[in-house]
Each structure stands twice: as C-alpha cells, then as structure tokens.
C-alpha cells in the first residue's frame, strides 16, 4: 500500500492552527531583541541588556538623572544593581527622590582611584546577574581617563554580552569608543527654570538634549528633568 501526500488539497483547520504557532526566525529575533530592552518611558531612551552604553556630558546635562531613572526602573522590579562611584560623589537622597530602591543597590566607593574603579567594574561584570552596573567616571581628570586602554571596554563588552546586565558608563566626554552599543552626548541647550522671585526662588526644571553619536542623522531626543522637593 502506498501513501501519497496531496499537496494540492487545502490543509484542514487544525493543521493551519499548528502552523500558525511556528514563527519565522526573523520574527523570533525581533521579539527577543525587544524583550531584552530596558526602556525609560517619557525620555525615549531604550537600552539593550548585555550591552555597553556610554553617556557623556558636562555639569547639568542630566546624565546622573538618567542614570538614576534607569536604576529606579530596575531596582523597583527587584533587580540588583551596582554603582561604581569613582569619586565618592553619590548622593543617596537624590537617588531615593528619583525612585531608586536603595535596598537593591550595591555602592562601591573608589575615592578617585581610576584603576580601582575599573577593577571594581570588572569584578561586578564577572559576577553576572546584576540588572545594571553604573560606572560613574564623572569628576575624574580627563587626562587620566584618556590613558585607559580601549581594550578594557572591549573586555567588558565581551564579558556582559551573554548576560542580562547593562553596563552604563557616564563621564564628561565619551570614553568607550566603538566598544559601546549606544553612545549619547547630553547637553542642556537652555537655562534652567526657576520659580518664585527675589530671595524666594526655587530651581524647578531643566531641559536636556540627548544626541546619539551612533546615529549621525537622527534628531536629538529631548526631555525635561524636574526638581523634587517632596522629601525636604
């Protein structure tokens, strides 16, 4: 007895139902890509897990505020994050005002030592499983940062590639070169907004502009940073 498959006939509905569950590889890759993204609502920023992100900018550019927003989003969900504080300038009160859950944050103070900051980041990257590691190089002398071999950044990139960790680097100028997946330069195009008059003024908000250095033709993202006085 011989069995032949008649391809000309229409498959029945049950076969179609099963086939509809099978997704093409391109769609799966697309879904996978978006599951592993951390998006910061209302700012338009989204970062891929397992990648290196470089944010640079001067004073009042909003890089610390964005870093706190990122930590807040992850720590509220119960993820453990780490902060490598190279100059001991971290202010936990600001972090709490931004919504960071301090119970889920590991704080490493490096007292201005560049080498220790990089080694600490290396240990944290190797631990795997952190939601985000924020390597804050703000306040360190730029000439010292320029002396850091670029291979360090490629090492980090390779280490975190297959992990859920986002390595977030902030400094006054871009430091990671082409090792980072996303590089933004933050700036404050206008002046800050103040309320009140005379001696009774309060700093209210600051507009910032975020320009991607990887997408030359894209328009810069814009957002506002607000001051929070609720906790005194």
């Amino acid at each position: 007895m011989q069995y032949t498959l008649d391809v000309s006939t229409q498959p029945d509905s049950s076969v179609m139902a099963i086939l509809s569950l099978v997704k093409p590889a391109s769609q799966l890759q697309e879904e996978q890509k978006h599951v592993d993204q951390i998006s910061l609502d209302l700012t338009g920023l989204a970062f891929d897990r397992g990648s290196l992100v470089d944010i640079s900018g001067g004073s009042a550019s909003g890089k610390t505020a964005i870093a706190f927003s990122l930590l807040a989003k992850l720590t509220v969900d119960g993820e453990i994050c780490a902060l490598v504080d190279s100059t001991n300038g971290f202010d936990p009160r600001s972090a709490v005002a931004s919504g960071v859950v301090l119970e889920n944050l590991l704080w490493v103070r490096c007292s201005g030592d560049v080498e220790k900051a990089f080694m600490a980041a290396d240990h944290l990257v190797q631990a795997k499983g952190f939601g985000a590691i924020w390597l804050n190089l703000g306040g360190l002398p730029l000439n010292k940062l320029r002396m850091v071999p670029k291979t360090y950044w490629y090492r980090y990139r390779t280490r975190i590639k297959e992990t859920p960790t986002l390595l977030f680097v902030t400094a006054e100028e871009p430091v990671t070169g082409s090792a980072s997946q996303q590089t933004y330069t933050f700036s404050s195009p206008g002046r800050a907004k103040w309320s009140g008059s005379g001696k009774f003024k309060l700093l209210r908000s600051l507009g910032i502009e975020m320009t991607s250095r990887k997408q030359f033709y894209g328009r810069p993202l814009q957002t506002t940073i607000e001051a929070d006085y609720t906790n005194g």
Partner: protein, 419 residues
C-alpha cells in the same frame, strides 16, 4: 546489670541547659531534655565506672567542674530516676536507690482523692503502698493503677526519647610543620570541608556559618567567624570566601593546627519563581562583595542607607548589608528627577557679590556670571554634641551648570553639582 538511667534536675534549666547537655554528653549520647532537667542513658557504665553510686558521684564531679547546681539520681527505670532526682532536697546531692522506698506518695502521679484515702489509711510512703496486695489495689482503683504499681516496683516501661540534636560538626588537623602562609593550607581545608559538608549533608542539613580557629606558634589562637546570608555546602565557594576573609586579616604567626566548625541550618529551597527577575547568585554576590572589599577597603562597599537623623549629609554606606533584591510597588512612569552629585573634597571658590546679591563665581576650573540663584538655605543641629551649621545657595552659572554653593568660616566652596 540491665538498663541504667541518670537524671539531673536543675534549679534553672534555661540558664544551665547548654552546660548540663555538655555534662550529659560526657556520659551518654542518648539524652532527653525534660521540663526541669535532663535525662540520659548510662547503661553499661557500671563496668567502666562502678555501681550506681559511683556513677552518680562521677556525674556530680562533672557538675562541679562546670559550676552547676543540680540533684542527681541513677536508677534502673526512667520514672525512678526522675522521682528520686525531683525529691525536695538541697542541690548537688546524690539520691541513692534505697531512698526510693521512702518517697512520699504525693510525688507519684496518683489522683488527689485516692491520695486522700491513702493518707487516711496511713499509707504515705512507697514502701507502705508496696506492702498492700497489688491485685486488691487494681480491683479497687481500676486497671490504670497498674501503671502506678509498675512505677513503685521499678518496672516501668517508659522509654527515653532523645531530643538533643547535634547542631554543629567539627574537623581539626594538627600540622606536622608550622605553616606561615594560609594559602598553603587551602588544599588541606578543601579536604576538611569535604568531610564536614559530607557529615552535614548526611543529616539532611546545610550550613551558613563556619568557625575557623588557627592555633599559632607562640601566640594566642586566632578565630574567624564566617557567615553567609544563605545556607550552602558548595566547597569551592566556601574556600574562596574563607581565603578572602583571612587575607583581609591574616594570622600574625605560623599556623600549627586548624579547627573548623560547621554550624547546621536548614537547607535552602532550590526552586525559584517562574517569572523571577535576574539577580546574581547569592554565592557569586557574596564573593564579589568580598573581592571588592579587598580591593577598595571594607568600609567602601555596601548598601546606601538614609539615616533618620538631622545631619548635613544624612546618609551612610552600611558595609554589613548586602542588596536583597526586594520587589516594590511599581511606580507610574515619570520624568527624570534632578540629581545632585557631591564634590569630594568641595571646590574652593571666590565669589563676587554686590548689593547682597551673588554676581560672579570663580573656581580653579571655571568662572562665570551667576544667572539665577536661590537661598540662603540655612541648617544646623547637634549643638549639644557635635554642632554643625550650613549656609547654602543653589546657583546657576552662565553656560556652565547648576551648583550648590556653601559658605563656611568666611570662605566659599562648591559642594557639588546638579546633573
């Protein structure tokens, strides 16, 4: 000779329980803690020590060695030993078997009415009750009275139920030659941990606390207490952790002996939530934290905490705490909040002010005109202890940024920046 049981009744069991258990362990492994004392099986010790009185005297010596008070009795049944020891006499006394027949009936578990009848009949001691025909007693007071008769005849079938469990296991090793560097002992500790953890696993438990004692040549022994926040029997993890801890505070002389104690605890459930977020493995987190402590100093790694005190900087880094990964109520999406970053140390500044208004600021790194400012914000407290006082301004400098300016001892400083 058949079975023998010893009972020690303590005047303060809560205080002396551990010491009494230690004394009991010198004689037996079958130990039961009672409400008011401790009971243990001393069968067979008659060959080693002597008769009951000799055993009792030996136990009494043990009590004296530990500065303990207690009443001791050794008898063939559990009930007899307990009844004898509970006699209302002074502490540190040994009750012999002969005194059993002189025990008052009120010490036995006899109902009050029955006891009153016996009292009226002049039956007040165990010996009096023994002289009455047992069948008559059972006929009159029921089958349950058989148990009382068994007690006074010292034929009770009560059994000892050991309820003292081991809560730790030890391993020790005397070295043939003194060793200066701890790292040379890692392979030896590995062997010890293997044995310790096998013993721990055999009783279905785990450990989150190790005590390590090094006997040092010509010095006092060095103790290390190493605890984790989770139980684990992973040998490589413990070895790395012990190595890191000891490297932070190495022994000051050559090591001649090692003793390790593993304290038991319940094992960790290994099943996790299906939708649990990603976190570092507890072992990995603890090892990383210890590596970081070794790198930047113990006081520089930990969890930030907000202090409930009025201070100029009311926060601290708690190096004893580790991130826990607790989930919180999801917040509504909101705009980023202006953050502050401290300058360590604060930057010295020169300030020009005109008509009581800040006009120009110059520091080592930049200078510029003041666009806007708010303040002065004054703060002070702790006048009774360590007084502090601050005068601060939030200052926007043209084309530069927003800073916090402060004045102290007639000098100006930039405390930090808003970012």
């Amino acid at each position: 000779m058949g079975r023998l049981f010893a009972c020690i009744i303590s005047p303060d069991l809560k205080r002396d329980k551990a010491s009494l258990t230690t004394v009991a362990k010198e004689f037996s492994y079958l130990i039961e803690t009672l409400d008011d004392g401790i009971l243990f099986d001393v069968s067979g010790l008659d060959r080693l020590i002597g008769d009951r009185d000799a055993i009792s005297t030996k136990i009494l010596e043990g009590l004296r060695r530990h500065n303990l008070a207690g009443k001791i009795a050794v008898a063939e049944t559990i009930d007899s030993a307990c009844l004898l020891a509970r006699q209302n006499t002074v502490s540190n006394t040994v009750h012999s078997q002969e005194t059993f027949s002189q025990l008052p009936l009120s010490d036995l578990p006899i109902e009050r009415d029955t006891l009153n009848v016996f009292n009226d009949l002049g039956v007040r001691k165990v010996s009096d009750l023994l002289s009455i025909p047992h069948d008559d007693l059972i006929t009159r007071y029921g089958k349950d009275f058989r148990n009382i008769i068994d007690v006074i005849e010292q034929k009770s079938s009560a059994i000892l139920v050991p309820n003292i469990k081991e809560n730790r296991v030890h391993w020790s090793y005397d070295l043939d030659q003194p060793v200066q560097d701890f790292e040379q002992l890692i392979f030896l500790l590995n062997h010890g941990f293997e044995k310790l953890f096998a013993a721990t696993r055999d009783v279905g438990l785990s450990s989150e606390h190790l005590d390590i004692t090094f006997t040092l040549k010509g010095h006092q022994p060095k103790n290390y207490e190493i605890k984790t926040s989770f139980p684990t029997l992973e040998r490589s993890f413990w070895l790395k952790l012990v190595n890191l801890r000891i490297s932070l505070d190495p022994p000051e002389a050559e090591i001649i002996a090692v003793k390790v104690t593993a304290h038991f605890t319940k094992p960790r459930p290994s099943q996790r939530g299906l939708y649990a977020v990603s976190r570092p493995e507890p072992e990995s987190l603890l090892l990383t934290v210890n590596k970081l402590k070794k790198l930047v100093g113990e006081e520089n790694v930990g969890m930030p905490v907000i202090l409930n005190r009025r201070l100029a900087e009311p926060f601290a880094l708690d190096s004893d705490l580790l991130p826990v990964g607790s989930e919180n109520i999801q917040l509504e999406p909101r705009l980023p909040t202006l953050a502050f970053t401290y300058y360590r140390p604060p930057q010295h500044a020169e300030v020009v002010y005109r008509d009581g208004r800040l006009v120009f600021i110059r520091t080592r790194y930049f200078d510029g005109y003041v666009c806007e400012y708010s303040g002065v914000w004054k703060g002070s407290s702790s006048w009774w202890d360590k007084p502090w006082k601050t005068q601060e301004w939030d200052v926007e400098i043209e084309n530069r940024g927003i800073y916090r300016l402060c004045r102290a001892n007639r000098e100006w400083f930039l405390l930090g920046e808003y970012d």
